[in-house]
């Protein structure tokens, strides 16, 4: 407590609580909708989370079509 890091983490945590409330407002009973809440990432801001954990880049792949269905198992 009292350090800059503590303040930053506390702020991120408080923002997380607001975010959880918003995310859970889309959940409906009975269809197994996702639940959002406190976990090991709750003291990270979204940007910190993205910088640390979301580092994959995507690449365009060919669309799967009926051509593949027809040609499969053909020499």
């Amino acid at each position: 407590p009292g350090t800059n890091q503590f303040s930053r983490r506390l702020k991120a945590f408080q923002e997380s609580l607001k975010r959880h409330s918003h995310l859970n407002s889309f959940s409906y009973d009975g269809n197994g909708s996702a639940r959002y809440g406190i976990n090991q990432f709750s003291d990270l801001s979204p940007q910190e989370f993205k910088d640390k954990y979301l580092r994959s880049r995507s690449e365009l792949c060919p669309k799967y079509g009926h051509l593949e269905d027809r040609s499969y198992n053909v020499d």
Partner: protein, 213 residues
Amino acid sequence: LPSRFDWRDKNVVTPVRSQQTCGGCWAFSVVEGIETAYAVKGNPLVKLSVQQVIDCSYRNQGCNGGSTISALYWLNQTHVKLVKESEYPFKAVTGTCHFPPSSFGVSIKGYVAYDFSDREDVMMEKLIEFGPLAVTVDALSWQDYLGGIIQHHCSSQEANHAVLITGFDRTGPVPYWIVRNSWGASWGNEGYVYVKIGENVCGIADTVSAAIV
């Protein structure tokens, strides 16, 4: 198609890992897919080295990021043999590529990569045919995920995270993919997340790949 299928039920999936603060999700999803594909062929289930791919896959940026397709391309072009994780352990930082003197190694014979964004029905067939599927997703909202089926709060065409689909479940009112993550077993459903099937939720069907062992 069965109404439920999960490669974990065949005992060919290794335990959930944690990438810690290393941005190597792309390597985790590819290596974990190869582990299962190798075991499905009747071989023992072996934990293979993720760190080897992080250090050596030159088209990627190690713990600073990468792509599943580039990693598979590299594995296929070089025929590198992935060694056991115990011989080349995970360090959570990018290291210098090296080749331990090992008699054991798993290389791939090829790989497939497709966009199944409007063909998730076929994607289920391919999961059974090829083994687990490495996919990329928009996982920004996964920061707060606790459990249940993700149906909202993410986008297609904005992928930023790589994960591995091990199965699907269509027995309930909302069909879902069973997705293995690399954020440890304490996250989500014992390290797994469920994503709704059929609407390309989080872009899960945009970039789909599997190694052939």
